[in-house]
């Protein structure tokens, strides 16, 4: 009977002892936003077919990803907003320099239940009325948002406070990052929000466009009017076209990867980043549900990597609203010169 027990211990000891095998190049580590994750995962999957260096991708959220990145724990940080001042400082303190690469655009869809007949559009100020911190306990019914809407309870669903989506939405709608009412159903898992809104006729929610695209039959998307005529007048629905041409404002945003300059000294990391840009642009970004930048952007990004252009185009201001692709490219060329 001692044998049986010693088998267990022996098995444990054996795995521990035999685990050191032939050296392998250290894996390329990416971590960060769950929004960017599908792109990084798709690229890593394709990369595995052509290169022996392993790539691992984690989901710590944009903020969590930067914490690790600035502590030199990762090579690449996935981010659904630009790096913030506090993160810039943290990286600087630890001597981490980085190349910032805006990769694609993502839209935030505002959705209601398909049977909701009264909402056919919303203005950004109505969204603000619904979501601002002062709305807590005051804006409880649909009729509190617009006169003539039913005097029925308004049930709100939104991205969790650890997500870049929440950061961006609050900045775009309430004009103050991370300020919103607290009495809404929040989840970091967008599928929870999808089923929440799909199962409640009085619900309104917001989340990444890809989640709406995959659940079109269960949801009704609300066109958004930002009351500005210069980027498309009237209410505009989110789609690949309206996000790309910059008319679906203010709820479309660029998403990024940040690459450590020190990691780029490794040939395989530099090669991986170029592969990321090339394959991403060719098909992977669109395939996983995001909107690629215009084609001419990618050579500029590749040059940025080659020349190791460090620092952020966004001056560490965090989420910024209304950044069109054109404006971003101009900034980029300016910075590259």
């Amino acid at each position: 009977m001692r044998h049986a027990a010693s088998y267990l211990f022996a098995a444990a000891a054996l795995t521990a002892a035999c685990s050191r095998s032939a050296p392998r190049p250290p894996p390329i580590k990416a971590d960060g936003s769950s929004t960017v994750y599908p792109i990084s995962e798709a690229v890593a999957e394709e990369w595995k077919k052509v290169h022996p260096t392993q790539v691992t991708v984690g989901i710590s959220g944009t903020g969590g990803g930067f914490k690790r990145f600035c502590a030199r724990e990762t090579d690449i940080s996935d981010a659904s907003r630009p790096i913030k001042k506090t993160e810039v400082d943290l990286c600087a303190k630890n001597g981490v320099e980085y190349v910032e690469l805006p990769l694609a655009f993502d839209g935030i869809a505002v959705v209601v239940h398909p049977k909701n007949a009264w909402v056919d559009r919303l203005t950004t100020s109505e969204l603000k009325t619904m979501w601002e911190p002062a709305a807590q306990g005051r804006v409880k019914r649909w009729s509190d948002v617009r006169k003539g809407w039913p005097e029925k309870e308004l049930r709100l669903f939104g991205a969790g406070v650890d997500s870049g989506t929440y950061d961006y939405f609050t900045e775009a709608i309430i004009h103050e990052e991370r300020a919103s009412r607290g009495d809404f159903t929040s989840s970091e898992d967008d599928n929870v929000l999808v089923s929440g809104v799909a199962g409640d006729e009085l619900a309104l929610g917001f989340f990444g466009l890809a989640y709406y695209e995959h659940n079109r039959d269960k949801l009704k998307v609300v066109p958004i009017d930002d009351d500005k005529a210069d980027n498309g007048a009237g209410p505009i629905s989110p789609s690949a076209t309206t996000v790309r041409d910059g008319t679906y404002q203010p709820l479309s945003r660029p998403i990024f990867i940040y690459v450590s300059k020190r990691s780029l000294e490794r040939a395989d990391v530099a090669e991986f980043v170029q592969f990321y840009l090339r394959e991403g642009q060719k098909k992977l970004i669109a395939e996983v549900g995001y909107i690629p930048l215009p084609e001419r952007a990618y050579p500029l990004l590749a040059a940025r990597v080659d020349r190791r252009v460090t620092g952020s185009l966004f001056q560490g201001k965090g989420s910024q609203v209304g950044v069109s692709i054109e404006a971003m490219l101009e900034r980029q060329q300016g910075a590259g010169r």
């Binding site: 009977m1 001692r2 049986a4 027990a5 267990l8 211990f9 098995a11 444990a12 000891a13 795995t15 521990a16 685990s19 050191r20 095998s21 392998r24 894996p27 580590k29 971590d31 769950s34 994750y37 599908p38 990084s40 995962e41 798709a42 890593a44 999957e45 595995k48 392993q54 790539v55 691992t56 991708v57 984690g58 989901i59 710590s60 690790r68 724990e73 898992d189 967008d190 599928n191 999808v194 990444g208 890809a210 989640y211 695209e213 995959h214 659940n215 395939e287 996983v288 549900g289």
Partner: protein
């Protein structure tokens, strides 16, 4: 039905518990009700488990197969597999057992066999019982601070295993102590009477006779560890790992994390993968419990 004539206050027989038939005669209505409640209590959890398993099997039917077990993660639901997560879970399980069993059983032996009953001992005992009730996420945070940061082990397999070992340690200690207590003191005394010392008694008499009980506790604790997600998320088990763990310092993923990842995808096809992951996880815990029963029967017979 001669028992019907027995008086209600019939004294229990010298041999102890009255037989079921006797009680039935005594208070038929109450007894039937109690029996019904017991059967219901048995049926409800079994039905829930059966339903869960049936629905998981039904949803996962298109994905469950050899390819799924040996595949690597992918953005395409139909080609995504669970191998790295399965290997990660298996490695975690082995390492957790390697860390928690010697420590836990050792602590239990000390507390039961060697420790003097004083303030310090009872303080330790109270703390162990309390630790068994601490939410697993707290162990994750502890693991993050101690193993990942302070000891500099990084977000590696060994950090994960050490965290899970901490998590199951109180359970291993408590169940092992229970098992040690079942050894009748007459056995010990007989051994001492034959001139054996403490260590010999422990090694040759006490441990062998309570081994089945200890193993049951250990395996049930490990079955819990294999389903834990929260502590692994905090210490940074990754989501996309297309490589099997090959060293203590490897990045790793585990089945519950892979399931979580699949469930949170926008594409509905991934639900089948998640369900298939659930089936694999259930099979793994089922196998562990089976191993536990087998060991108990086998060792019990020999002891």
């Amino acid at each position: 039905m001669s028992q019907e004539s027995l008086p209600v206050t019939a004294p229990p027989r010298a041999s102890g518990i009255p037989r079921a038939g006797e009680l039935e005669g005594v208070r038929p209505a109450r007894h039937a009700l109690f029996l019904a409640l017991c059967v219901l209590a048995l049926i409800v959890p079994l039905a829930v488990l059966g339903l869960l398993l049936a629905s998981a099997l039904h949803v996962s039917a298109p994905r469950l197969g050899w390819e799924f077990l040996t595949g690597y993660p992918s953005r395409h639901a139909t080609s995504a597999g669970i191998l790295p997560a399965l290997a990660g879970s298996a490695a975690l399980l082995t390492l957790t057992a390697g860390l928690a069993v010697p420590l836990g059983v050792g602590a239990a032996i000390y507390l039961e066999e060697y420790a003097r009953p004083n303030r310090l001992t009872s303080l330790i005992e109270v703390n162990i019982s309390n630790l068994a009730g601490v939410p697993s996420i707290l162990y994750g945070l502890l693991g993050l601070e101690v193993f990942v940061r302070a000891l500099g082990l990084g977000r590696s397999l060994i950090s994960g295993a050490a965290t899970l070992a901490l998590l199951v340690l109180p359970m291993v200690i408590m169940t092992s102590r229970e098992a040690l207590r079942t050894v009748p003191s007459s056995l010990r005394e007989a051994c001492y009477a034959l001139g054996a010392d403490r260590w010999t008694t422990l090694r040759c008499v006490i441990l062998p006779s309570c081994l089945p009980g200890i193993l049951t506790g250990v395996i049930l604790s490990l079955a819990r560890a294999v389903g834990e997600t929260a502590p692994l998320v905090t210490i940074g088990a990754l989501t996309y790992v297309a490589v099997l763990p090959d060293s203590l310092g490897s990045a790793f993923t585990a089945i519950p994390i892979q399931i979580f990842n699949w469930v949170s995808r926008p594409q509905a096809e991934f639900r089948a993968n998640a369900a298939a992951g659930v089936v694999v996880l259930l099979a793994l815990t089922g196998a562990l419990n089976g191993l536990c029963i087998w060991l108990r029967v086998r060792l019990g017979r020999r002891a």
